[in-house]
Symmetry: D2
């Protein structure tokens, strides 16, 4: 498959996909946009997940968009094109885009396991990927521990594991059928390592809470899930590095998992801008001086926003297919542009939305106004991992100055959790009540 | 009464009142802060007005804070001290501060009518002011017409008036007993003029809607009110300038009415900053590099925010007592620093709050988190009159370049409404249904 | 020639050329960088033009870099690659990059005349292009009239023209052999039109002043030139649109002429950043918190700067080869991304340089420090045509709101000059004395 | 003396002095402004010190402006009023304001020694102060060591000292008669302490270099001075704390010494703004949309700039006269608002000046244009001590989080210099050659 688009277009600005698979996915998604748009306000208000939309996605194979064609998926494998698709959805509803990104992202990372992993990982990945295509799997991801618990795998004594702990901020949780979780082993026998168990919805120890009530992204179903001695077969655990390994190779997967989320905030900013220009153009009076200035300024920031995100995506797509590099160096080379772009997205997108509120005026300050939703949703970008702003400064400045440090935020968290001796002693039933 | 504080303190930063009345009002308000703070979250969530708090205010004479002592009030007459009081309330709850400001502001402007108006105006003002002290009046203000109607006074044929139209964004509406409304006469007999009728809650043609559902300021009861041929005696109408009079003297009253609202946003920013620094100081790890930088930067912006608002308030207090100047020049000299300060407040306060969210992290992105409320509330500052950002640019640039124009935004609106021929023909019963 | 780079790299960030010609030109320019770098400070201080460098460029065929291969040039025809080359030079010296850009830009626009013009234009273009390759021509461009004169062509009565007037801000003037000038005909016989006469250095009426003394770009030889009845044969005049034609097709050529200049400011910012990071990395103490934060922030802005400029360049390169579009629409589609990118470049590049001064500290505040030069040079970006910030707001907001206006700034100037009735009556000898 | 101005004006905005002494000094300075203004451009270009202006200042007693009246001075003792005076001078020429501030600042700090010091300090201070009044003394201050040397006092064996080292950035050096230097003792006998020897111009070991060549502030004579075993009698040394004492009391004097310098940058911004508005108002066309917006925005930032600086000054004036507080707490309470204000000044003032260049256009980019000078001069604010931006973040964040550290930057430097073992071994004759 060629990087080159058919029509001599540059890979720039996230305006059009660059692969046939990208075009195919976008075309199909466009069919769902009226539905997504028409239910966005009510789900936002109620804080409910658009289960109907996701049922349709499941039934119509949409969740297999990024699954390799060999496994029956649509074969979308370019981050740039994933972003173009997510951007289109985000213009209709940012929450839906966030939840859908989760699936697209899982397709990409499980696809990587399927192509490059060991036999056990490949088998597990294939199973999940085929289920996504069949509409039998909505695969969620749980990264961040609730402050009260370190999510830990303990050997069950017969070759399997028991998983306990609590994850927070698991998007699409209400419809999730499988949860790929970031955990650590308890250190029995060998030093603790990072690991990714896959927990199915019907696991007897699993509880999916209904506790999402966000400032924004209210329809994203970003709930907590609690594990109370969930039995996990060894074949359902992807083993990672030992805690504290300082292996920057992990940054590649983290980048691939998350970078296309930037398109959510690009989409929100674009939607806000379009709506605002249209509203002002409808007014009988010509735009006042400051309205002209703000529209030109905000339009330029929107241009830079698209350019910056798209440049990072295009660069990382190239690195993503280059397996000849040193894995650590490749990880850092992927994470750096991602973080540079993320910093700018989280600065530019909210500023564009805020200027749009200024331009539209008081009407935009009512709870149900589309711009009010944009104002709340766009702020989520600053909280996405990796990294938060504060962590990104540590990463980027250490890269600039050549200072050695552990760049794997999951490893960081694991070490910090251990040093603070938190919560594994707490019984999960207690955790449930919070 | 002296401009000088007792303790040789400069009039700076809105840290302390500068008059005994200011101290007295602030001391009493401090007693209510625990109540205000404890109910803020639930009123914000439900979008309900803190009627209980205002009942207490009413019964305990708090609504007479700015009523002259001669009429039984507490005699607070310095805008600077009004702002200090409002700031304290806003740190607990911005919505309550906005609704309370409405009363304090009415005390000031009615006090001015009582001191400087003609006999009819003085009588009307005294009546309202005494009622505020007695706890019998919550006086609301209706400035902005709903887009569907020009609020108009038509002669009733026997010396009185009939009022029809609709006002939007009337804060404290749910508990309002009197509504001082910005209207225009219909031009029968003489050219249309601006006028301020006072409508009592029990007027047969008055409907107070329950339609506030804001992005922020959700507990401020900022509703619409509809007038359907409300009979208004001539004695209850304060007559202003003809529409289009270009009388900049009106800017003085507009400044006095609104400038202390800046303190709401200062209070929100201060509350966000305090909460954030406390949260970070509690963490076991030392603050990371970017956290140190953001705290220092945001703290400096907070300092500038307080300094800028307080400087404008102190300057305007001096002009407010100087009746020797040309009234138009005085109006412009008061409006300019107000607008300069307002522009900066609406830039600095939201940026401080946003940085606080960044520092506190994902927890701040839940709907009920105090910072999430700050994030929504602080954005209201851009929509307060006079002026919006876009209008402020027109005003300030014309002042800088010496370009003559009509600076009275109410007059502007009246002219525009007339030229667009809107809505007086629409029946109020139709208006009610929107 | 393919848009695709050899190594699967995306067209992104202005890191590498995308065509073989781009690589060839960059490789040769790299050989000159030590010379350029080593003389930059002294030319900056003295305000002198690097004549030696340009002599070398001329002799070694460098001025034919963008001349079509059919005419003996190096055939560089992609704006993206022109920008990559200019960026590399600007990292060594911004003034040299500005003067060299002038030549590269002339090669492109004259190449367009040679390919698409009428017979007379083609002959003129070919003559100049071959002279550039041979090292016999340094072709300068004069756009902006001195405030004292409207540069005007008057018929000489025998089929040729007489040119009088004065141009300001003509870069590389000290070594210019040919001057392509923006003028207007005097309206004798037919309505005035825009026209581009080519004036040779030896024209008896031409004076090249030695009057450049810039805040920055001090080695760019950006002088005034005065025309005192210069005889110009008809064959040396490229005729354009009538004044006031509102022909947006002209925007295409204006974009091609100027957009690669953005790379100058990208280069200055990159040079400042590299120098600063290196200086801090050499210090014995680890970087303080704010240094870490600023380096991460400035690095991210630098990333966005490169991404934004490169995205605009890549987009415009595609439009530049697409002659199937409506010419007016093509002009607007090229100018919009150029202006969006220019706005951001002029905001981001100076902010990066200023942060670098902060990081390096007091040493950077001495006149000869490389960062002090960057600080002065980078500010030039705001003054480059088209457009200034103020004009760009008019253009971009009218595009956003669909407001029709004359977007050709040269036409604007011509109309304004006429309406103010300036200066054609003034004798050029008077002009010389200013 | 009262804090209250005569005309009921608030202490706000640095528009008018608040004390009679302030009015007297400002009135006299106004008489010199035409001279200062008329020679500013030529001194800027040549990088020469306005010796003539300072000769006049000296002869006419201007250098005694802040000397107590008891010693024959004009008795200006309010920082606010010092700032008002410096601001007026800075509007004419920032370099002159910087050099004059040095004298005003010395009057204040020596006045403090005279009032509150021990007998030796009082005698020394009185001698210098009387000489300032008489026009016999121009007292300069040398704070920052050249990177090559730690300025050190070594006992001369007979009760006096020998001073060696090199100071950089000593403003008004060309006309300095006395140099109050920050040094440390060499640690013979007792631990090293900070000390302030006073070196007279005729000291045999003193060399005043002629090496200032700044990016801006080019007429400020900010040179290096070298000490080669200068004999200093014990009576000419003010002894301070031991190195590393962590005595925050020192912050009070550092604040008093430096805060009024903020007015320099306020003055530059005001001058740039005034000049720009006047230039635009003269143009025949009405201002374009972006010009209106920028003028309103920049005017608002200028308002905030004045408000922020004036609030810090007024606050610190109160603390300055309050000797009842804990000295360390007083030091911190003075330094905090100073640093908050300084951060904002260094952000707001350059942004105003840059917008002015944008508004005026290309003419402002010539070396001799007043705005070009403003652009270079205003950037100096970031390099003034205490603190630089990076150090200010350390100070302010540690104050916010309650983290204990050494806040005395001179002590910091002394410790760092010792730990890096620099340069005391180098012979001063070597130092001279750099």
């Amino acid at each position: 498959m060629s990087l080159r688009p058919a029509r001599q277009e540059p890979i720039a600005g996230l305006y059009e996909p660059v692969t046939p698979a990208g075009h195919a996915v976008l075309d199909r998604l466009r069919g769902y946009l009226p539905l997504i748009r028409s239910t966005a306000a009510e789900h936002d208000r109620a804080g409910t997940f658009p289960t109907g939309t996701f049922d349709t996605f499941r039934k119509e194979g949409m969740l297999g968009a990024t699954v390799p064609t060999e496994l029956g998926g649509m074969g979308l494998d370019r981050l740039y094109d994933v972003a173009v698709a997510i951007l289109a959805v985000a213009q209709a509803d940012a929450s839906t885009a966030l939840a859908l990104h989760m699936q697209f992202s899982r397709g990409l990372t499980l696809g990587y396991e399927w192509r490059h992993g060991g036999p056990a990982a490949r088998a597990l990945a294939e199973r999940l990927l085929r289920a996504m295509v069949a509409g039998d799997a909505v695969v969620c991801s749980g990264i961040k521990d609730h402050h009260s618990a370190v999510t830990t795998l303990t050997p069950d004594g017969s070759g399997g594991w028991l998983l306990s702990g609590r994850k927070t901020l698991v998007s699409a949780g209400p419809v999730g059928t499988h949860f790929v979780i970031n955990a650590q082993t308890d250190g029995t026998g060998e030093p603790p390592r990072l690991a990714s168990p896959v927990v199915t919805r019907d696991n007897p120890g699993l509880s999916v809470l209904d506790n999402w009530d966000g400032l924004g992204m209210r329809a994203s179903g970003t709930v907590d899930i609690v594990f109370d001695n969930c039995p996990i077969p060894a074949s359902d655990v992807l083993m990672r590095d030992p805690v504290g390994a300082r292996n920057d190779a992990a940054l590649a997967g983290q980048t691939v998992s998350s970078i296309a989320m930037l398109a959510i905030y690009v989409g929100v900013a674009q939607a806000a801008y379009d709506l605002t220009v249209a509203a002002l153009a409808r007014r009988p009076e010509p735009p006042q001086a400051a309205a002209q200035t703000l529209v030109a300024d905000a339009g330029s920031r929107l241009y830079a926003l698209r350019a910056t995100a798209s440049t990072a995506l295009a660069t990382i797509d190239v690195l993503n297919t280059d397996t000849s590099m040193d894995p650590g160096e490749r990880g850092r080379q992927m994470m750096r542009p991602f973080q540079h772009a993320k910093m700018m997205v989280n600065q530019l997108a909210p500023s564009i939305v805020s200027d749009c509120l200024t331009l539209v005026g008081g009407a935009a300050f009512t709870a149900g106004h589309p711009l009010a939703r944009c104002y709340r949703d766009v702020r989520a970008g600053g909280f996405m991992q990796p990294y938060t702003y504060v962590d990104a400064v540590d990463f980027l400045s250490s890269q600039a100055f050549g200072i050695d440090r552990d760049n794997n935020y999951m490893s960081h968290w694991a070490i910090r959790a251990r040093s603070q001796g938190s919560a594994t002693a707490e019984s999960p039933s207690k955790l449930l009540s919070r």
